[in-house]
Symmetry: C2
Subunit: 109 residues, 2 copies
Amino acid sequence: MENTNICPVDYVVDLISGKWKVLIIWNLKFGKKRFGQLQRILTGISKKVLSQHLKELENSGLIIRTVIPSIPVQVEYSLTERGMELSAILEEINQFGAILLKGPTVPKS
Amino acid sequence: MENTNICPVDYVVDLISGKWKVLIIWNLKFGKKRFGQLQRILTGISKKVLSQHLKELENSGLIIRTVIPSIPVQVEYSLTERGMELSAILEEINQFGAILLKGPTVPKS
DNA sequence: CGGCATCCTTACTGATACTG
DNA sequence: CAGTATCAGTAAGGATGCCG
C-alpha cells in the first residue's frame, strides 16, 4: 500500500489495490453507507481493516466521512466527485474483466 | 495475488496489482522486449520477481512469451490483443491519476 | 541469457479486546 | 456505534546462487 511511485497509473492502482477497496467504492456508488452497514456487506472484513481502508480512501480524496454526533455516534461514508469518476473507470474495467473471465485463459494473440 | 473473487473488477485489479505489473505492460506497449531489457528498464527488480510477474501476466493472457532457440537462449515478451485493450484502460487511469496527483489530497466533494 | 530454488525480510491481513 | 491497540499469521517482495 506504500506509494513511492512517480507513475499516475501505479498511484491509482495502489489506491484500489487493497483487498476490499474496490468493493467499498462499488458499494458507495449506490449511496452513502454507515460503518456497520459496510461491515455487514463486506462479509468477513474486520473492523480494523475496514476502518484502515476507509481512512486511506478518505486521504486519497475518494470518499467523504461524515460524523453524526448522536448517541451512540453514527458515521456515514459517501463518494466524492473524484470517487464518482473513479467508479466510472471501474465500470469500464468491469466490462473488460467480464470478457476476460468468460474467454479462455490464454487466447491466441 | 490470490483470486477467489466473483467480481470482474477485482479480477482485473488483481491482474495488475503486483508491484511491477503495470510498468511491465506499460513498457511492452512500445514493442516487444527481452527479459534482460525489462530487467534493465525496471530498475531494482530481481530476476525472480520479474519472471514471476511475467509468468502471471502470461497466464492471464495479457502477454506472449516467445523463445528464440539461439545460444544462449533469448526470450521475447509482447502484449496480446487483450494486453493492448488493457493498456488502453491504463491510459485512462493514467489521465485520472495525473489529475489526482496534481490536485489537493482531499478536495471538497 | 533466462529463470528456478532457497532463504530472509517486510508489508498486509485478521482476531480479539478495549475505549469515547 | 465506530473505532483504536495489540498480537499473530500469511503472503508478497527481494538477495543470492545454481542450472540448461
